[in-house]
């Protein structure tokens, strides 16, 4: 796979995610995919469950790629996620509030599919936007 093909894969994933096209998404990830998220390694099934939870909580979500870079067998996407909180999310009941958070994702590609990933999202900002973390200066 060339760097341009890996970048095209990144765009296809975001497009499938925004269209809620689970079968295309499943096809773009290898069966042995491992996702390294904050403090935990996830299998593709667990990763999928997280995506479904996100879709349920923010039915109008949209993922936008702000920057896309690639080298060797990896691509890096800097992206934003927007949406309206209409379903329970991480124990927080629907609030109707809008989220607008940024994240960076790295994917390692083999055989045209994502086989390993690293994700960091600004979880604090997301929780604050949902009204779940006390904001204001620390005492």
């Amino acid at each position: 796979m060339s760097i341009e093909q890996n970048k095209a894969l990144a765009r296809r994933i975001v497009e499938a995610f925004n269209k809620k096209d689970a079968s295309t998404l499943a096809d773009l990830f290898g069966p042995d995919f491992v996702g390294h998220t904050v403090g935990k390694d996830l299998t593709f099934e667990e990763f999928q469950k997280n995506m479904i939870a996100l879709v349920h909580a923010f039915p109008d979500y949209a993922m936008t790629i702000e920057d896309l870079i690639a080298e060797d067998d990896k691509f890096v996407a800097r992206w934003t996620l927007t949406g309206t909180h209409k379903g329970e999310f991480m124990g927080i009941p629907a609030s109707g509030k809008r989220i607008d958070v940024s994240a960076i994702t790295i994917r390692r590609v083999a055989g045209g599919k994502c086989v390993e990933g690293w994700d960091i999202r600004d979880n604090l900002k997301m929780m604050q936007q949902l009204g779940a973390v006390p904001s204001g200066p620390p005492k």
Binding site: I104, W118, D122, K125, P134, P138
Partner: protein, 140 residues
């Protein structure tokens, strides 16, 4: 400048400025128009304000160590995946130290022009950062 030269510059910024406190490296590698907005709410405009940010972190966490876990470059950009570790022993943003150790994952994308870093975007596990420090997160 090549992607390899940009990577080498970025590596020196992490190792010299963050890990050794050698702030002269910031004069060497940062453009006057450098801009960075940290997910922790701080903003750096120019090399001097970035030096203040590094000094603040190294005062709060005197044993601060950034480990480079991965690095890749493409065009004028360099991405670093890193682990930010240290012990909260000095005052930070008016907050008394808790003595807690932190170990937080982050990613930084920097943009380079003529061998100088001009802009950066960071994603950090901000929730874990404050939880591990043992303090209440400030407003963003």
């Amino acid at each position: 400048m090549s992607t390899e030269q940009n990577k080498a510059g970025q590596r020196r910024v992490w190792e010299e400025a963050f890990n050794r406190g050698n702030l002269a490296v910031i004069d060497e590698y940062f453009a006057p128009e450098y801009v960075f907005r940290s997910p922790l709410g701080m903003e750096a405009k120019g090399p001097e304000s970035f030096k203040q940010m590094v000094t603040m972190m190294r005062t709060a966490l005197p044993d601060l160590h950034v480990t480079i876990d991965d690095m890749l470059a493409d065009g004028d950009k360099v991405m670093t995946r890193f682990t930010f570790a240290g012990t909260f022993k000095g005052e930070m943003m008016g907050i008394a130290p808790t003595g807690r150790k932190i170990n937080v994952a982050g990613m930084l994308i920097s943009r380079w022009a003529d061998g100088k870093e001009v802009q950066a975007w960071e994603s950090l596990d901000t929730l874990a950062f404050y939880q591990q420090l043992g303090i209440k997160p400030p407003g963003s």
